[in-house]
Amino acid sequence: MAFTFSGEMVDLGGGRGWLDRPAADSVFRIDRQLGHLLQITDAGRTWGQQNVEFQTYLRVGYPIALDPDTPSIHQRGAAVDSNEAQRILAIMADHGWYRTVYRWVNGVWTLVEEWHFEHSPERDNHINDPAAPAAQIPSEEDDMLALRIKDGAGRSHLAALGVGVFRHFIEGDNPEWVKNVIRSDDAWVDVPLPQLPALLRTYGCDLQIWDVRDSAFVVLDPLDNTVRSGNMWSAANAARAKLTPIQVNSAETLAYVKELAGKA
């Protein structure tokens, strides 16, 4: 009979998936102890997701995955796969997380899935500690910063900064509304202009993509090479701009392009 999860699916935040409440609270306590979100590759699984893993195991013998009708601890929301956890085994054990998957290799029982950890509440030394409040876990909507950049003349310039994305706002963008959409705290981050390069570098943006010209903040758009207020620079567009455009050689295509240009 197909297993149906009946616990509480708790979002771990940061795109890490879900776990049952006791295991999720343990991960939140580990996050707090580490000072950052524990890296997690895989957490809770549905029956269908586990079946995909199981069929792969039956076909190629690796990685080891239990029958979804057993079920797997992943389906019970009490297992994670993590690379980072392998480097903090003492902390994981203190919080009741243990590696469990062994194979008989050359006459020895050998741990073969170093990344697979299962939570045992009865071994969790912090099971009665409060979990970190949910507000301390950055949500996905906080992946971008809303910046209020202060230049040397005391003027403020509004922008959004994400991984590989830097967007300057002009009044017509309704920046207050956009800020409230991308930030759960609905707050601007004040950034002195000299600090901007360090932030851009941290978020994977090029440095020479902005300027202050005639009191206006301007940004480079790599697609059309314009430098003006309200532009967006992104690493993806910078890469696209370097790609060689397709050269149209077909007479039929050229005629079609001309026809479209004529309608424009």
Binding site: I64, T70, V101, Y102, R123
Partner: protein, 57 residues
């Protein structure tokens, strides 16, 4: 599943009884010694802390 066909019970017991040992193990026994034929069983210690309890997984 025949527990007698699972090798080295002493090693399993040693892993499970270690202070930093897991509370249970998933064993890939690599054959059809288990009931459903996927080669996977679990093992944990009984309440006496010494007897191995094998279950088909």
């Amino acid at each position: 599943m025949h527990a007698s066909r699972i090798p080295d019970h002493a090693a399993l017991r040693s892993i499970l009884q270690a202070p930093d040992g897991p509370p249970r193990m998933i064993l890939d026994i690599g054959g059809s010694a288990d009931l459903d034929g996927d080669g996977l069983v679990t093992v944990h210690l009984a309440d006496d802390g010494d007897t191995l309890i094998f279950e088909d997984a």
